[in-house]
């Protein structure tokens, strides 16, 4: 890795002639370190490479808090599915994986895994695993999966460095790499164990952008090809590729409008779009969407527009008569626009081009999901972002960002226009949805890096200007003239140097504050696996609640192999991955009706629910209950979403039945339907006998801080099969139907 950096840096920096010189000097420097100029250059290279290496390592190790605090394990919900599929891939090979029909989820429908997932992450992890195995490193696939995200975060820092170098200079590149290495917005999705698509996708996203900008800057087919492959990797890894396929045409459009059309742009975009599209079609989940879906049409439109532009350019070149050209331009533009509009209209009307999906709409209109798709709105990471989370995730970069934009506008180029557009659009999306802060993070880091780098560079120039009296060896014409001009400038403002020093200290203070904040956030907020809960005991000792795994392992060991488990969809992936049992619904919320059926069962009376569960062939019901421990994200607190989603499909379920004067409560004043629905009964079964807190009556719910309203819960059709030691997970068995005689 190190060697590669060094060489790349070298190659880009110097023209062929100076390479020769450099090379010779490199050879000589071993013997004589006298040549001062070369020595500084080498020192610079050495420092740069060392800093990059340190950043690379830092980005990796700062994400290991969770491994040290807890253990090397997979976190949260979705990563468990990714882990399960990766294990399948490594055990059965790629073709089996591609054709895998999973009968363990979405019972009785099943799920075609190969056709409904982005395989990039799994293939990457499996590839790393196979490579290590080939080199005879006896690693377990779990370790590979756990460390995939930190590894790719490290790689992202390298890409950020090159990207920063491309848009500004090497200094900005280094700062960008350092900023992104510890930025909480990125760490939140790439700590060790967070084995999710985003882990590799951010790397792929930034790589694609970098390569595209490089292609635009150089006009080289090779870079454009590379960016097409980067795009392919991104498409294979994450659904967020739609952002790329819309941002790049938008960028091209802006360049066209601002009159920055060039042959370089033409080459870069055409190559990237055509090849990227063809490659993306190889992913089964994406298929022909690039030519059939409304979300991808912008790219195609810009592609044709670019051809028209090229054609007009050519005609203009051929025609010397401007008047003739003007009329030709008018005709061509009108007819091209008309043709495009007709094609789009016909395509949409005939259904060949699918309309925008709900998820896409909810991005453009933040209120859309709340009214139309409760299942999207119910996910906490799809909520609009609060200001505090911006501050939490970006910290000082929130102030550096506008400054960076200012610097970018001051030195407009194709590359800076790109980064400005990227940062502005992604900032908008970050405002719409919490999870999209992640997409904005690299842009914010890059723009802030420009600000930091430019400011610090200017300030150090000012500081160094006075101390020029001691002649340094670098007697380059430009530097000295600049220095002298600064010096003369200096005299007019006597406090400038002191001011610069103060400002430098200020910048240093800000950045060190940022580092402290990032470390704190990483260790406190983003390194919890959420499977294992930790709390402080009464004596300040650490108490671990490992109830989830207790329950899943119980399911795995002590239920029949073909048992069907019903739970709210949040736990579906975990049950299949850790419990190895069939589930009715899971986190891949592709069938709303199925989820609504489960929601309906949970919010019905027991006998009605029994009918529904019999019809779904359910054997066990699993609920999560935090009343004993005070764990607040349990099923009772999620219950209103079940009612809403259930009621969205089955109008029998009405939200007001569960509320009292619009208020959601579980104590004596709760609605009668609430007190007798299945979810309530399963959560509070025999809870009325338990004293949870000293000085409180039995049946005191610690998560909600009330005494429950229905202490005498009787179950007729279900029986308690297992409850974990802290009552967080409760599993019930469905009794077989009674004999009639």
């Amino acid at each position: 890795m190190v060697g590669k950096n060094e060489s790349a840096v070298n190659g880009v920096k110097s023209t062929p002639v100076s390479t020769q010189l450099n090379l010779k000097s490199d050879l000589f420097s071993n013997f004589s370190l006298k040549t001062l100029k070369l020595k500084t250059k080498q020192q610079e290279l050495l420092i740069r490479v060392t800093v990059l290496c340190l950043i690379y390592v830092l980005a990796f190790i700062t994400r290991l808090f969770s491994v040290l605090r807890y253990e090397s394990m997979i976190h949260e919900f979705d990563p468990y599915f990714n882990y399960r599929t990766t294990v399948f891939l490594t055990q059965h090979g790629f073709y089996e994986f591609w054709n895998w029909f999973d009968s363990e989820s979405w019972y009785p429908l099943g799920r075609i895994i190969g056709g409904t997932l982005y395989p990039g992450l799994m293939v990457t992890a499996a590839f790393i695993y196979w490579t290590l195995r080939f080199l005879r490193f006896a690693v377990h696939i779990r370790e590979v999966c756990v460390l995939t995200a930190p590894f790719f975060a490290s790689n992202t820092t390298l890409v950020a460095y090159f990207f920063g170098k491309e848009i500004w200079d090497t200094g900005a590149g280094l700062v960008a790499a350092a900023l992104i290495a510890i930025c909480p917005g990125y760490i939140s999705r790439s700590v060790a164990g967070s084995y999710d698509n985003e882990g590799v996708a951010i790397f792929a996203l930034l790589l694609t952008f970098y390569l595209f900008v490089k292609a635009v800057n150089t006009g080289s087919l090779a870079w454009a090809l590379a960016s097409a492959f980067g795009y392919f990797y991104m498409v294979s890894a994450w659904g967020g590729y739609v952002f790329i396929i819309n941002l790049i045409p938008l960028y091209v459009m802006v360049l066209l409008i601002t009159g920055r059309y060039s042959m370089r742009l033409y080459v870069a975009y055409n190559c990237m779009y055509i090849l990227g599209m063809l490659l993306a079609m190889q992913i089964r989940f994406v298929g022909f969407q690039h030519v059939q879906s409304g979300e991808h049409m912008a790219a195609m439109g810009v592609f044709f527009l670019l051809q028209v532009f090229f054609f007009l350019d050519w005609v203009k070149h051929m025609l010397s008569d401007t008047k003739l050209f003007q009329s030709f331009l008018r005709i061509t533009v009108t007819s091209a626009g008309g043709l495009g509009a007709i094609a789009l209209g016909v395509g949409t009307a005939s259904g060949y081009i699918s309309p925008w999906t709900g998820r896409f709409y909810s991005l453009l209109d933040p209120t859309y999901a709340k009214d139309h798709i409760p299942i999207i709105a119910s996910v906490s990471e799809h909520q609009p972002t609060a200001w505090s989370s911006f501050m939490f995730d970006f910290h000082v970069m929130l102030f550096l960002f506008p400054a960076g934009l200012y610097f970018c506008f001051k030195r407009l180029s194709d590359a800076t226009i790109f980064i400005v557009m990227y940062s502005l659009t992604s900032m908008y999306f970050a405002g719409v949805m919490v999870r999209l802060l992640l997409v904005a993070t690299p842009a914010v880091c890059l723009v802030s890096a420009v600000a930091v780098s430019a400011t610090v560079k200017n300030l150090t120039l000012l500081v160094r200007a006075k101390s020029k009296s001691v002649p340094t060896g670098s007697s380059k014409g430009t530097t000295s003239s600049k220095a002298s001009s600064k010096a003369s400038f200096d005299q007019s403002l006597p406090f400038q140097r002191n001011g610069a020093i103060a400002l430098l200290f200020g910048a240093f203070y800000l950045l060190s504050n940022y580092a402290t904040h990032c470390t704190w956030v990483t260790s406190e907020a983003y390194s919890s696996p959420s499977i294992v809960l930790a709390a402080r005991g009464s004596h300040g000792n650490r108490v671990i609640f490992d109830d989830y795994r207790e329950a899943y392992f119980w399911l795995r060991q002590n239920t029949p192999q073909d048992a069907k488990v019903m739970s709210w969809w949040d736990y579906g992936y975990q049950i299949t991955a850790m419990g190895n049992r069939t589930v009715i619904v899971d986190n891949n919320t592709w069938n709303n009706t199925h989820i609504a059926t489960v929601g309906r069962a949970m919010s019905s009376y027991e006998d009605e629910a029994y009918e529904i569960m019999r019809s779904l062939d359910v054997d066990y019901v699993l609920v999560v209950f935090g009343g004993v421990t005070g764990y607040s994200s349990d099923d009772i607190n999620k219950f209103l979403w079940m009612v809403r989603i259930g009621g969205g499909v089955f109008p029998v379920i009405k939200e007001p039945d569960y509320l009292v004067n619009g208020e959601y409560r579980v104590d004596k004043g709760a609605a009668p339907k609430m007190l007798n629905c299945l979810m309530y009964k399963l959560s509070y079964y025999r809870f009325g006998e338990l004293t949870t807190e000293y000085g409180q009556p039995p049946g005191f719910d610690r998560a909600r801080g009330v005494e429950i309203g229905n202490k005498d819960v009787k179950l007729e059709y279900l029986e308690e099969a297992f409850t974990t030691s802290n009552w967080i997970v409760r599993i019930y068995k469905i009794k077989p139907p009674n004999n009639r005689w």
């Binding site: 190190v2 060697g3 060094e6 060489s7 070298n10 062929p16 390479t19 020769q20 090379l23 490199d26 050879l27 253990e71 394990m73 080199l135 005879r136 490193f137 006896a138 499977i531 294992v532 671990i544 490992d546 795994r549 207790e550 899943y552 392992f553 119980w554 795995r556 060991q557 002590n558 850790m578 025999r686 809870f687 006998e689 338990l690 029986e719 308690e720 099969a721 297992f722 409850t723 974990t724 030691s725 009552w727």
Partner: protein
């Protein structure tokens, strides 16, 4: 006198035709058990039977073999037979172990299986000797009822015979059965029979002919943990760099009466004395001293409930499965630990090295149905041979671990029905050249050297086409 010579001749002829053991046996049947005391311990899931047999040679020729007989059903469950004879008087009484091996007898009824005990010195006519026999039986406590609910306690059947099944004539015999609690549902009466406290006494019975059998059933309460390891794979990896890494894969099950119906956590928490008495949630593993880097995990991650205590002589690991084990419930887990290699690896006088390690399962009071021990020798070791104190199945495998090129030889030892009494040391001998220890560091060094060389070369060689 005249009759003796032809008889001897006949015997000689017989021994020529058949084999030597039969000769011995024909004489051993002259042995008579003058007094037999049988103590059966039912307190745990492992049934221990202590037999004290006083034998006398009533025949004319010296007898060297004492026979033990077992009904076929018991033989499958017989984990261990050990015999010893007492030497010396009261003060200086020592036990000398005797050799026990399975044999056959043509006239044994109904597939009775026999074991012969080779006496220290052949008994001459009318000489007596005392032989102590230890039998260990597993899986012979049958839960009845076979399914119990959480609040019930576990009752088990024990089938046996009031009189020892023996090819020898028994003059006098008493059987003592020790039950785990005073609660005995029922027991077969074979007069004289006495029940007092935790003991049932059958006998004394006098003058029983060979192969007498009087079946008895004892139905008693037994709430001791029925922890059965259905499958245990212990992997011992030797590294000459100073560490012995042991990984043990357990498939644990509660083999008692199956749990029926509801598991109520509130009952289990609030009334531990009457709720789930037959379940268990702790296990104790006795590990060798100076154990380090212990872990306890399963397929889905670390299990946080374990404690390690240790002093200079032993280490005790208290482990708690993720959930309490009720009848029929299962749990799989892995225990791993490291040990200093100098405590277990030695050099034998002929220059070979050998590993001296304990056979059996470190978890106390468990039965292992199927035990596999894999000894992973360092890469480059040759001629492995294993020496175990009892018969085991052996074969060799190859395993690839970190940076292996040719793979490591694995000596695999297998044994069924293992009880704690099997925890005696076994040895694996192998030849090893210490130069192989340097192979892996050298490989790594070479790789890094080549890497840096490559970097330097890349930086200093100009590959551009146009100058």
């Amino acid at each position: 006198m005249a009759g003796v010579v032809p008889r001897l001749l006949l015997v000689l002829l017989f021994s020529v035709i058949t084999q030597f053991p039969l000769l011995a046996r024909s004489s051993s049947l002259d042995l008579q058990i003058t007094n037999a005391e049988c103590r059966i311990d039912l307190t745990s899931q492992i049934v221990k039977v202590f037999l004290t047999l006083k034998v006398e040679n009533t025949g004319t020729s010296p007898a060297s073999e004492l026979l033990l007989a077992f009904p076929p059903r018991q033989v499958d469950r017989l984990a261990l037979v050990k015999a010893a004879c007492t030497v010396g008087k009261k003060k200086k009484k020592t036990y000398v172990p005797l050799e026990v091996k399975p044999t056959e007898l043509p006239d044994a009824p109904n597939d009775t299986k026999l074991f012969s005990i080779l006496l220290l010195n052949p008994l001459k006519t009318s000489e007596t000797a005392t032989v102590e026999v230890l039998l260990i039986l597993t899986h012979c406590l049958e839960p009845f009822p076979a399914e119990i609910s959480q609040s019930e306690s576990q009752l088990v059947y024990y089938h046996d015979s009031a009189i020892i099944l023996s090819p020898h004539y028994i003059k006098q015999q008493t059987t003592y059965i020790k039950t785990p609690s005073t609660k005995v549902e029922s027991y077969t009466r074979v007069e004289p029979t006495n029940h007092a406290g935790t003991q049932i006494i059958y006998g004394p019975y006098a003058d029983r002919p060979p192969y007498s059998f009087s079946p008895i059933i004892v139905h008693s309460e037994n709430n001791s943990p029925f922890a059965v390891v259905e499958e245990l794979v212990r992997e011992v990896e030797i590294s000459h760099w100073g560490s012995l890494q042991i990984t043990e894969h357990y498939k644990l099950a509660h083999a008692g009466a199956h749990h029926k119906g509801v598991f109520s956590r509130v009952e289990y928490q609030s009334r531990p004395s009457i709720s789930g008495v037959s379940s268990f949630k702790h296990l104790l593993a006795r590990l060798p001293p100076r154990v380090h880097s212990v872990y306890y995990r399963d397929e889905i991650g670390n299990i946080s409930s374990s404690h390690l205590r240790g002093d200079s002589r032993k280490s005790e690991l208290e482990i708690e499965p993720r959930y309490p084990l009720f009848g029929g419930w299962k749990a799989t887990f892995v225990i791993g630990y490291g040990l200093p290699v100098e405590d277990f690896l030695f050099e034998s006088p002929d220059g070979r090295r050998y590993l001296n390690f304990s056979f059996g399962c470190p978890v106390v009071e468990t039965v292992v149905d199927d035990l596999t021990i894999k000894v992973v020798l360092p890469e480059g070791s040759q001629d492995p041979t294993a020496v175990a104190p009892f018969p085991v199945d052996q074969h060799l495998e190859t395993k690839y671990s970190y940076l292996d090129v040719v793979g490591r030889t694995v000596v695999v030892l297998k044994k069924k029905n293992v009880v704690p009494e099997h925890s005696s040391p076994f040895q694996v001998y192998y030849k090893f050249n210490p130069i192989f220890m340097l192979a892996e560091p050298m490989m790594l060094t070479c790789v890094f050297f080549l890497l840096f060389m490559g970097c330097i070369a890349y930086l200093h060689v100009d590959l551009s086409l146009h100058k």
